[in-house]
Subunit: 409 residues, 2 copies
């Protein structure tokens, strides 16, 4: 296949990787004890803390992926026969629960309409009903990338705290971290899980876990068999121990550089940029939706993810074909539906190293494909996105000019 | 620190990475279902088989490392309470056994002088004594990188087979695969374990396991808790399943290219090159050893590894300082002693993407450092290595000339 120009990657991970990160990784292997690697490792451990919103938690970085980090969270804190509460969020709450079941954990699934966020009161009710404190943890997905719904991690914390129930609060923020606020310490999160290839702008290959003091305490009595993921093995200054064997040094150099870029931009600016790009996508989809065949899956605007938008397709539309043709004919990758939405939705990722023309180009590719495939849609989605972005830019421009004038005065 | 020129990396992993492999990895992320990634993944799975010497085994590739692959071998075939036989080879038989113990496995350690290879007859004796077949597996390290001793995997297979004992034969070939013959099918190996950063010439970040039909059969009744490593989960055509979540695509593109280079050179030529480079190192060390302070750890020439040479240091020599100064002042990384040899040895890695001037340069850096540090040694180690290499090259040159003459005639 002839491929001209660069592709547009709008899967919700792997995401576009900054040239700086690719360059940081494009280097010869070095000795595991080389000072340069030591500095990069130390920056990864320290630089992840603000992204997790923690000064207290211990960070673990694995050669692995998000599923590996899930396993670390479970195998380090649980024992066979333990019970956990898993609010249903979509494909990823199911996957995490299945993993827990593999470790002999009894999962109480809190059913939920996948188009809305978990109701914190329902979690509280489950915990209140659990008088004997059988539930050892609440396993909550932050943004389920299959639905594009972002759950209110702070409100759930407050609901849990109000019950006085001692369950650990474990949060999968693989698809959310780095796209919106995450305050591990302030929100009483005990275990947070993420991976390298989404908001962290790196290639896939690292699973990352942050553990609170309470989680480390629970770890001491947890009996699930583990070694590779074992926090005790990894709490060690020797890098060979901290990485459970050979450190994936190229990915560490990538993360080191990505964290530097995150520090330069600042977390607040990153979250704002993500919101603007997400909103541009939603403006476009809302226009297309007037044609009657497409609809944003997440019902409530306030619950729509900064990182990914799942778009439901009407009967008779084949989103698998749509996805394939957008990729092959318009060089733009969108993702398919997962779990309950398999064959009934496609997803546009808008997280990580993205800017306005990138997302507008991707939206234009999708709009072109809707037109090409005669999928019913209202034209002008991209125009609406442009209008929205132009409004943001107008405000930014006015502020920049005002600042210049002030400086000149 | 000012660093001019390139470093010489003679740790036994991570090893020098070919430019072609670095370039293959230096690319933008792509969609997990992109045809280009699919082709690379398929080549990785098929291309690893000849390196393992198998047409029968199933290959599993993990975002992980060698320790992760160890865990895959154990968690997929064993159950708590099972017993395994672990012939002592050094730091890595200890590590693998400790990992098995984490899964409630009872490890019978077969003690061994770490300067010689495992005696196959002793393994056979253990199995013969195990009338009730309590031993479920023999866990044998091929080359223990801490000792530089290569164990005779074929002879051990023959000894096991002669007993008729049904134990699985599991081999850690992390430090050997791609440096010397490995015949999984012919040698009755049930589980073989390796990683990306040694003979496979890639960055660290992949753990690789090959499983025989017998191992897959044992897997069915094994009850160790597992999910990320689970072979059943991963025996799936969908890549997202085959990689237990997001595929580490950059490392896959690296391995894809490295396997292409292995195919171009040919396994026999690769093993021969490794033997020649290893022998050059040994010639140099043997000369230095005449000074009385250094000695090759592996006692028997036939058991000396193609990939790494451990060099014992006499009392009063600080190999940690030697290692640090060779790296800082001569830009050459050698490795330290591990396990019983910690503080009593250093190691020269000679595996992967290496050629003659690279290894001669490294040997010269070590010889310079011995001189600089007034460590007793006979001068002329590098000269001996040059003589040896020149002899090899002379033969190659004669053969090339003869071939040319034949072509001309």
């Amino acid at each position: 296949m002839i491929r001209r120009g660069h592709g547009f990657l709008n899967a919700p991970g792997p995401t576009h990787i900054p040239e700086r990160v690719l360059n940081a990784m494009r280097r010869q292997a070095i000795d595991l004890e080389d000072e340069e690697l030591t500095a990069a490792i130390e920056h990864c451990f320290s630089g992840l803390k603000p992204v997790f919103g923690t000064t207290q938690a211990e960070i673990f970085i694995y050669a692995g992926n998000g599923h590996g980090a899930w396993e670390s969270a479970i195998a380090n804190t649980m024992s066979a026969g333990d019970k956990v509460l898993v609010p249903q969020t979509g494909h990823f709450s199911t996957g995490w629960a299945e993993m827990a079941e593999s470790f002999g954990i009894d999962c109480e699934i809190l059913p939920n309409d996948l188009r809305v966020a978990t109701d914190p009161a329902k979690i509280a009710a489950c915990l209140d009903a659990d008088k004997s404190h059988k539930i050892k943890a609440v396993m909550q997905v932050h943004t389920d990338t299959s639905t594009g719904v972002t759950h209110d991690i702070k409100a759930i914390h407050e609901a849990i705290a109000a019950t006085g129930h001692p369950a650990l609060y474990m949060v999968d923020s693989v698809a959310a971290l780095g796209t919106c606020a995450f305050e591990m310490d302030a929100w009483g999160i005990d275990v947070a899980v993420t991976a390298s290839q989404k908001g962290l702008m790196c290639p896939p290959g690292l699973g990352i876990v942050a553990a609170s003091a309470r989680a480390l305490e629970a770890h001491k009595t947890s009996t699930a068999p583990r070694r590779y993921w074992d926090w005790s093995q990894r709490r060690h200054t020797a890098h060979y121990r901290a990485f459970g064997g050979t450190c994936p040094e190229h990915l560490i150099f990538a993360l080191d550089e990505a964290l530097r870029m995150i520090e330069e931009e600042g977390l607040e600016a990153i979250y704002r940029r993500h919101f603007h790009l997400a909103e541009a996508v939603r403006r476009a989809v809302d226009v297309w939706a007037e044609g009657g065949a497409l609809e944003i899956h997440a019902l409530h605007p306030a619950e729509r993810s900064n990182g990914v938008t799942a778009i439901r397709t009407a009967e008779g539309i084949d989103p698998v074909e749509l996805r394939l043709l957008v990729r092959q004919m318009m060089r733009t990758s969108v993702a398919g539906g997962l779990g309950q939405l398999r064959g009934r939705a496609f997803r546009i990722g808008h997280l990580g190293d993205l800017n306005e023309p990138m997302i507008l180009g991707s939206l234009a590719a999708v709009e072109t494909s809707l037109e090409m495939l005669d999928i019913a849609h209202q034209k002008g989605g991209v125009t609406a996105a442009i209008d929205y972005i132009a409004g943001i830019k107008k405000t930014e421009l006015a502020a920049a000019r005002a600042a210049l004038r002030e400086k000149a005065a």
